[in-house]
Each structure stands twice: as structure tokens, then as C-alpha cells.
């Protein structure tokens, strides 16, 4: 067995060695016996760091709880168990003209995981987070009780569980409101931009008319080119022709982990520069199936192995709107000067739709996300220096992607964490939670 174990995190840095893994099935008591505490739900393993690690405890593998319970084709209300993947929902719902209301960059996350991390997507400026579209759920706790939670019933448990990193109990049933679409295709409008100022201008101009906005940014560019990239804005295409055309076939697979990271200082600048200049035109429009549009990396199975056996860190932060441009400039300068970073760098302006969870990450401002191949101390020092910028700006770092932020940083980023701690089930824990609460919980 590899050092990341059978239930690893996506970034493959924290060692996963649970004492036990249980796999509840439908119709049975989902929680393990008290002897097996502390427990932590584990969905499809797409969280990057140690929010899915519970060493020497028990992981509750929820993928067996993957049944649909009801689907109303007229209202788009879907009821399901927490181990259902967004991919399963899309396969079921798109042919009927319904779509997940919010989706992260992979469809291979469970509904339970999407709630526990209160995930966001390219439509954050209009739709807010995933949790805003949850109508209600059942939460089983280790005292043997089950609570129905919604914005009006047990609303405090609802707010604690959304973004609650699986620590408040096990979600056993969810009702979601899906959104109407005309079919499987997107109208995508792509622009090249030359610097960070141009990104902010494009984003502001696009937000009113485009449901989805996001930018790829060249994190190797410096000086006057700092923050250059491609801006992608899109809407669902109205019904026409063959709305339910099948998506693309599954792409290649990283069946084995290469002995070193394919992302390294020798490949970083050429890959980014080539991608920036991939088209001669500065703007192009296309109709695109939702799968390559929303999930380009899902086309390469196990892409995380490209970072080699040492794994990688993902860093995603948000900085407040007032001085976002200055903060992002400072972050990109520090990353550019380090020679680290990678090819997968993303910028997006969040909207001001309030996030429902006590620990929800999205808040008004600009978010930057990028991968760093794990080069040990030098990478951690760089990420600590990025935290200095984010802390000074009054921003936050995303727990779902984190494997290293300090307790002090977490407690500043999530000022309601003590209130949240009152809802943490005494039978539940995670390595992340132990790390960021230190001795103060």
C-alpha cells in the first residue's frame, strides 16, 4: 500500500492512515460504533489536504450511500443520499433540462463533500455557493439523533454543517434545487488579456451578462506582463438542435505516478508561455459541451499524479474587493519571484451573495487558486509568505485545498470558528481540525 493509503487526499501530501474504514449501506445505521471514534466522513477524495484525513481514527466512506431518492422533473428538486457524485446528477438531469446549481472544477465530488466544503464555481457572482441551493438535509450525530436541517428548521445546525468540513455529523439525505438549462451546451466567449488591470476590467464588464466567468492566468509572467491570461465567460446555450448530445469520451489516464514532478522550473515558463500564445486571435467564441467547459481536467484521469510522488500543494485565497488588485499583484510577484507555481492558475471575482455557512470560504473579493509541486521547505516558506499578504489584506485561504496553514492564520480567516466549534460532534475529528485549532479548541 502506498504512503497515501487507500483513502488519500487529492494533493497526496498528508499521509492517510486511518485505523479503520467503514462503508455504510442504505437502510442501515450509518455511524460506526462508539469504539471506533473519532470518525470523519470521506466522499470521493477530491479535497486536496487534510480535511479528509483522520489518522488513527475511522473514515466513513460514503460512496455506498449513492442512491437517488426522488427527482421532480417539473420543479427540479432532487433528493439523494450524500455519496451521489455531481457527475451522477448531471448524467441524470441534463437530458431533462436540469443542471447542478453550482459546480466546482471537477464533477467527481460527492454531494456531501460539496456541502461540507460549501463549494463554489464560475457562477459565484450570480448564484453564490453550493450551500445556497440546498433545501434541507438530514444530519446524523454520534448521540444517536438525526436532525432535519434547513434555512428555517435547525438553521443553526444548517449554518454549521454547510462548509463544516464533515465535523458536525454525517449527512444522510439531501434535497437540492437544480437549475433549468436548455441543454448540454455552453456559449463560451474567450478573451486574451495582457495584465491584471485588464482582467479586472473584463471581469467587471462581463459579470452582468455572463453567468459564468473565470480566467486562466500565466503565473510565470512578470513586470508589465504580470497577471496576463485568458478570460472565459459563458452562458448556458438555449435549447436547440440536439440538446442531449453525449459528452466526450473519457480521456487519457495517469495510470502510474512519474518519479518526479512533470511541473518543475524547467517546464513552468514554457508551458505557461505556450498556453498564453496558443491562439493568434485575441478573442474567439465557440459552442462547447458542458463537460470540457466545466471539467477540462476530468478528461485526464488521476492528473494529480503528474506532480510526482512528493505530491503538490494547492493554494486558494480570496482577498477583499477594495485593494484586490494590489493584493493579487503582490501575490503574483511573490510567486513569480519564487520560480515555483505551475500551469494551473485561476483568477475569479466573487460576488456579494452571502455564503450560508459559519466556515464558508467564499466572500466578496477576488480569488486566486494555483498548484505548487511539493518541494518541501521552500514551498512551505513561499505559501507562508503568501499567507502574510492574505492576512494583511483581510482575506482567507480555502480549507478544502489546504494542508499547511497555521492555526493563527485559520483563526483570523474564519473569525466564527469558535462559534462553529460548539457544533463539532464530539465523536468526529479530522487532522485539519486538530491542526488549525491547536490546543485552543
Amino acid at each position: 500500500m502506498s504512503r497515501t493509503g487507500s483513502h488519500p487526499s487529492w494533493g497526496r501530501i498528508p499521509v492517510s492512515s486511518p485505523a479503520r474504514v467503514t462503508r455504510p449501506v442504505s437502510g442501515r445505521t450509518p455511524l460506526p460504533s462508539p469504539d471506533d471514534r473519532p470518525v470523519l466522513p470521506y466522499g470521493n477524495g477530491r479535497s486536496y489536504g487534510d480535511v479528509v484525513i483522520n489518522n488513527d481514527g475511522t473514515l466513513i466512506d460514503t460512496r455506498g450511500l449513492d442512491h437517488f431518492l426522488a427527482f421532480d422533473l417539473d420543479t427540479g428538486v432532487l433528493e439523494c443520499e450524500p455519496g451521489v457524485l455531481l457527475a451522477d446528477i448531471l448524467r441524470l438531469a441534463v437530458p431533462h433540462g436540469w443542471f447542478v446549481p453550482v459546480t466546482p472544477g471537477t464533477q467527481y465530488v460527492t454531494v456531501g463533500g460539496a456541502i461540507a466544503n460549501d463549494v463554489h464555481g464560475k457562477n459565484h457572482h450570480m448564484a453564490g455557493t453550493f450551500g445556497r441551493h440546498v433545501l434541507d438535509f438530514d444530519l446524523a450525530t454520534s448521540d444517536g439523533s438525526t436532525r432535519v436541517c434547513s434555512p428555517t428548521t435547525n438553521h443553526d445546525w444548517f449554518a454549521a454543517t454547510i462548509g463544516g468540513l464533515g465535523l458536525t455529523g454525517l449527512i444522510t439525505r439531501v434535497r437540492l434545487q437544480l437549475k433549468r438549462v436548455g441543454g448540454a451546451f455552453m456559449d463560451v466567449d474567450t478573451h486574451r488579456f495582457d495584465n491584471l488591470r485588464a482582467f479586472f476590467e473584463l471581469s467587471a464588464a462581463s459579470e452582468p451578462d455572463y453567468e459564468y466567468t473565470v480566467a486562466w492566468v500565466d503565473c510565470s509572467a512578470t513586470g508589465s506582463k504580470l497577471g496576463r491570461g485568458w478570460f472565459m465567460r459563458a452562458n448556458h446555450r438555449p435549447a436547440m438542435g440536439q440538446p442531449n448530445a453525449a459528452g466526450p469520451r473519457p480521456g487519457p489516464n495517469f495510470a502510474l505516478t512519474p518519479p518526479f514532478s512533470l511541473m518543475n522550473p524547467a517546464t513552468l515558463t514554457p508551458l505557461n508561455t505556450l498556453y498564453f500564445h496558443r491562439k493568434r486571435r485575441r478573442r474567439f467564441r465557440a459552442a462547447q459541451h458542458y463537460q470540457p467547459y466545466f471539467y477540462p481536467l476530468d478528461g485526464i484521469r488521476n492528473w494529480n499524479r503528474a506532480y510526482g510522488p512528493a505530491g503538490f500543494y494547492q493554494y486558494q485565497c480570496v482577498v477583499p474587493p477594495g485593494d484586490a488588485e494590489a493584493s493579487i499583484t503582490e501575490l503574483l510577484e511573490r510567486i513569480g519571484a519564487s520560480g515555483q507555481g505551475s500551469f494551473l492558475s485561476v483568477l475569479k471575482v466573487f460576488g456579494d451573495v452571502p455564503s450560508p455557512g459559519l466556515l464558508s470560504f467564499p466572500r466578496p473579493g477576488t480569488t486566486l487558486a494555483l498548484d505548487f509541486p511539493n518541494r518541501g521547505d521552500s514551498t512551505r516558506r513561499l505559501l507562508d509568505s503568501l499567507d502574510e499578504v492574505v492576512m494583511a489584506a483581510g482575506g482567507a485561504v480555502y480549507p478544502a485545498k489546504d494542508a499547511r496553514m497555521s492555526a493563527a492564520a485559520f483563526q483570523q480567516y474564519f473569525p466564527r470558528w469558535r462559534e462553529f466549534a460548539g457544533y463539532v460532534d464530539p465523536g468526529f475529528s479530522s487532522d485539519f481540525w486538530l491542526r488549525v485549532t491547536g490546543d485552543t479548541a
Binding site: 487507500s6 462503508r23 449501506v25 442504505s26 437502510g27 442501515r28 455506498g64 442512491h67 437517488f68 431518492l69 426522488a70 427527482f71 443520499e81 441524470l92
Partner: protein, 245 residues
Amino acid sequence: MNRILIVGATSAIAEAAARRFAARGDALFLVARNRDKLEPIARDLSIRGASRATVHAMDADDLGAHAAMLDAAEADLGGIDTVFIAYGTLPDQAACAADPAAAVAAWHTNAVSVVALVTDVANRLERQGAGQIAVISSVAGDRGRASNYVYGSAKAGVNAFLDGLRHRLHGSGVSVLTIRPGLVDTPMTADLDKGPLFASADKVGGDIVKAIDGRRAVVYTPGFWRVIMTIIKAVPRTIFHRTQL
């Protein structure tokens, strides 16, 4: 649309196959011991597109219950195109070696009840002049091994039974498929350490649906098990006895 009877419908492999049947609108009659486990599966399959998903609780060990179940399935579906038998237990080999009653119980579930059920099914389908019988056996039936020979020998009995039945039904319009999965990551194997040879129930379910569609006679899933078992069968006994298989 196919009319499909699934016995052992709460098994992970059966469910993976059933989701594929449901997505193309097949009519399903779902049989298992535990109605509480069966009902959410049936509801799920209906939502995924099954034109019918009727549940029927039956313990396959109770041979006297088979005929009534088959009558109910024929009545509910209006005739049966495919019978998919997916139940089984993985007995504790050490317990079976120590206790004759445990060995016989393992044989009863994994061999005797299958022989009884398939005999009744075969006669019904033969009368109707069409249909397909698909039975999950195991690669363990290919050679008896110290670690698992009670289960393996029950599956070997099923394999030979199905070979003979296929021979008998040749030309009758009824086909017989023997499914030989290798190691599959399911609740049945929850207590085994998982190595790289383990396949997902979803992969195996997909292979089974392809073999049913192709009206194959024997399918190893994943396919590499055909090679592994060919080698295991070829090892001379003097060497085989020194292994820990």
C-alpha cells in the same frame, strides 16, 4: 426494452449492472433477502429510468420459495427475457474447514440453491423458446486452493452445471452466461486487504452488461483474470502445494 429478473439485487455488482439496465429503460424485478435494503435501490433505479422496478423479498436458501418468486416475476414483467443471478456469500474458510455444517451451509447458498433456481428458470425459458440466464460464479471455481476451497468448489459445481445446461439448451433460443469475476471491492470482500488486483463493482457491472448484450457463454471480469487463472491451473501440483494461494 428488456424484462430482467435480478436475484441478489442488493449486491454491489448487481446494482452496478442494474443502473445500466435502468438507464436504457429496462423493466426490472428485483429480488433479495432484505426488503429494507431493496426498496431504496428500486426507487433509485426508477429515477434512473427503469420502466419498472418491482421488489420481492426472498431468501434464496429457501428452495421452496423459488417457484412462487418466478411466478410473481413472470406476472409482473409479462414474461422474462433475462435472469441475472447475483447473490452469494463469501464464507470464512477456516470455519468451513473446522465445521461440516458451515461447509454445507456455504455449499447450500452458493451451489445448491443456484442449481435449484436455475433448473426452474431454464425450464420456463425453454418453454418460452427464448431468453438468457446469467449467473455470477467466480474465478475461485477454476482450481481448489487451500485459502478458499469450500467457496471455490461450490462455484466449480455451478460452472460445470452451467456448462452442461448451456449444452442442453443449445438451439433452444436460451443462452447461458457464466460470469467469473476476480477480486472485487464490495461489501462481501470488506474484510480483505485491497491490493492492485481489486476491481470496482462498477467496472465489473459494466463488463457483465456487455457480456449479456453480446450473449457470451463465459466472461472473466476484469479480463486479465483469464490469463491469471490459466497460469494457476497450469501450475503442477508439486509446486502448487508449496504456494500460499
